[in-house]
């Protein structure tokens, strides 16, 4: 043990390494999604949104959960199931539109889910998943089993009525929900201070919690242990029946909002980050890259003597191998039958 400033927040070394491993897996998965556009043109259709830059926030949040807890998320949804232990080959197959995908090819990149692991689903409509998390927390309250629900969403989503309506009810009913607002400073091509009154006033977005008489905390989302700490406190409060918390997790998304938007026939790609393409803020983006949470946590663990060079290399190699397998099996997997489109429109009564 070297670095005396390192605070493991009560986590044993193997759990710390595990958090790092999950971060590396998420990053590798997203890199492979991104590379697919160049390496296998046409294989991914529609719109993908990557979680690179948010790995620490995702992993630190999910680490605060116990089995039985649940979460909802947005279209930017690849990270959570990886942290929950979903099969990455099935996730990639979903993104490639294959029958073997997480959702059989029905949902695609924006609508992953894994209800057995607590991932209830996503909304592609900004803000509209927030009431879903709130309702799932109400169900947990009724069950009385002390389960907690995390609702993940972006800074932009906090401008929707659905956000404000949900926070009010959750505080009023003391629902066991934690709202995780991933503030990546952008709503697509709009900066937070262009659309948020708190940000424009130089205040954190967590200020909004005050209006609903719940705790609001802002945390460095690039530090998985800081996120874990904040989420653990919020989850404990929710589990104890004391009600919701708003956690603003400050992250910086490292890719553009999503891949390019184009009619069929025009090849899709990942464009330049909006900080540069819209605002010419090259230095801001470069600084964000220098602060990349994945190498940052690795360096912290190495300095603390928790992670050695050889294990770090094998974590990277394992992740690369896992995601190569995900890509290979997804590419080889069959497409759904066309007529399957008419299945699952309504749920049938179980036979």
């Amino acid at each position: 043990m070297t670095d005396p400033a390192f605070d493991p927040r009560g986590l044993a070394p193997d759990r710390l390494v595990e958090l790092y491993r999950q971060m590396v897996r998420i990053r590798e998965f997203e890199e492979r999604v991104k590379r697919t556009f160049a390496e296998h043109p046409g294989v991914i259709r529609g719109h993908t949104h990557l979680a690179d830059g948010a790995e620490a926030s995702i992993v630190g949040s999910v680490a605060a959960l116990r089995p039985g807890d649940q979460l909802t998320a947005t279209y930017r949804c690849h990270g959570y199931p990886i942290a929950l232990g979903s099969d990455t080959a099935a996730m990639m197959a979903e993104i490639y539109g294959r029958a073997t995908g997480t959702c059989g090819g029905y949902g695609g990149s924006m609508h992953l889910c894994d209800p057995e692991r607590g991932f209830l689903g996503t909304s592609g409509i900004v803000g509209q998943g927030i009431p879903h998390a709130t309702g799932a927390a109400w169900a947990a309250q009724i069950r009385g089993d002390r389960d907690v629900v995390l609702g993940f969403f972006g800074d932009g989503a906090s401008k929707q009525g659905a956000f404000h309506e949900s926070l009010n009810i959750a505080a009023l009913w003391k629902l066991p929900v934690v709202y995780v607002l991933e503030n990546n400073s952008f709503s697509a091509g709009v900066r937070t201070e262009q659309e948020d009154a708190n940000a424009a006033a130089g205040e954190p977005l967590a200020t909004k919690a005050k209006a609903y008489s719940m705790p609001g905390v802002t945390v460095d989302g690039g530090d998985p242990l800081a996120v874990y700490d904040a989420l653990s406190a919020a989850v404990a409060r929710a589990r104890a029946g004391e009600g919701p918390t708003l956690v603003e997790s400050r992250v910086y998304r490292l890719s553009a909002h999503g891949n390019s938007i184009a009619p069929p026939g025009v090849p899709l790609h990942y464009p330049e980050h909006e900080a540069i393409s819209r605002f010419g803020a090259v230095e801001e983006y470069e600084a964000a890259k220098r602060g990349d949470p994945v190498p940052r946590f690795r360096a912290a663990l190495v300095a603390a003597g928790v992670l050695g060079d050889a294990p770090a290399r094998s974590i990277a190699a394992d992740a690369a191998e896992e995601m190569q397998h995900a890509v290979d099996t997804a590419l080889a997997a069959p497409f759904p039958e066309p007529a399957a489109a008419l299945e699952h429109v309504y749920a049938e009564a179980p036979a």
Binding site: G46, G124, K159, V190, E195, P264, F335, P336, A341, L342
Partner: protein, 327 residues
């Protein structure tokens, strides 16, 4: 009339630009509007009239209603049709009602611009052809342009209209190019256009299915079946007279529509023609619509539920066979 070539979406923006230059009460707001000082609309019309908004559709559209009541003529760029649903009350139960509820004392001139039908892997929540849920709403007009020229002309008319207009541009047509009239160009609402004359069967299509119907008509012509292709251009008001007159000439009607069957323009036209043109029909009306399912992400499933040229051709053949090839 002199023209120039541009894209479908370029034509839409050209109309907004020209109307903003013509009338300073015209405002433009939305989540991907302006937002930086070098934006051409901001440069031309200033940040007061061109405003980037937070992701707050209820407020964006509700504020457009309020600004319209107060004398402005806002254009809300809502990006995608589904995003309007967040503000459903403002779209179908506020702006459209005020003129009538006030006995004509107030008006709500506003345009809601949104793309639709992006069946290119955008999956369940971003691909809908959801105009069916707006076309029967009193007080709300709905335009569905299929060509760059109509995109320009219908947008200009929408902005000058004293009612809320839902202007739905088709995402799959975004980059289609065509000749567009220079300068002022207005396309009247409620006037269908015959895209191709033909004596044997009437084909009605909107938006992205118009080029599909035209391609089907070309295929059928090789077999000696002449299809008349009609594009209503606005579905509220809906020009049933042009369709009926055509059916009186052809005796046969095939309706092509990307929307799900029971929420389509096709269903409305089928009912209108069955009621007012029954005597002219020589075969049952056939609807080639989207199938009644959500749009799945994976391509084979997406394609399965959509109309396509082959389905249109097959439907026309069925109708013609049913009634014999010639009078």
């Amino acid at each position: 009339m002199s023209t120039h070539e541009t894209t479908y979406i370029g034509a839409v923006m050209e109309a907004i630009d020209q109307e903003m230059a013509r009338d300073e009460r015209v405002l433009l707001l939305g989540q991907s509007v302006g937002g930086r000082p070098d934006d051409p609309f901001v440069q031309r019309y200033g940040e007061n009239r061109v405003r980037v908004t937070p992701i707050s559709e209820t407020a964006e559209i509700g504020m457009a209603v309020g600004a319209a009541l107060a004398g402005m003529r806002p254009v809300v760029d809502a990006t995608m049709a589904e995003f309007l649903l967040v503000a459903m009350d403002q779209v179908v139960n506020e702006g459209n009602r005020f003129h009538h509820m006030s006995g004509g004392r107030v008006r709500v001139p506003m345009v809601l611009k949104a793309g639709y039908g992006f069946t290119a892997g955008w999956a369940g929540q971003h691909t809908g052809s959801i105009y069916g849920m707006f076309m029967g709403v009193p007080g709300l007009k709905v335009a569905l342009p299929s060509t760059p020229a109509d995109a320009k002309g219908l947008m200009a008319t929408a902005i000058r209209d004293d009612n809320p207009v839902l202007f739905l541009h088709h995402y799959l047509l975004t980059l289609d190019r065509g000749e567009v009239p220079d300068g002022e160009h207005l396309v009247p609402f409620g006037q269908a256009v015959i895209r191709r004359p033909g004596a044997d069967v009437t084909l009605v299509a909107t938006g992205w299915t118009v080029p599909m119907a035209l391609a089907a008509a070309a295929t059928l012509a090789a077999d000696g079946i002449e299809a008349e292709v009609i594009d209503p251009r606005t579905i509220a008001p809906l020009d049933t007279a042009t369709v009926l007159a055509s059916v009186r000439r052809t005796g046969r009607l095939v309706l092509v529509d990307q929307a799900t069957r029971h929420a389509s323009v096709a269903a409305v036209l089928a009912a209108e023609v069955a009621e007012a043109g029954f005597d002219a029909l020589r075969a049952p009306i056939v609807q080639v619509t989207g199938l009644d399912a959500g749009i799945a992400y994976s391509r084979p499933m997406e394609e399965h539920v959509l109309p396509d040229e082959a389905k249109v051709v097959a439907a026309v053949r069925r109708v013609v066979e049913h009634s014999g090839t010639r009078v």
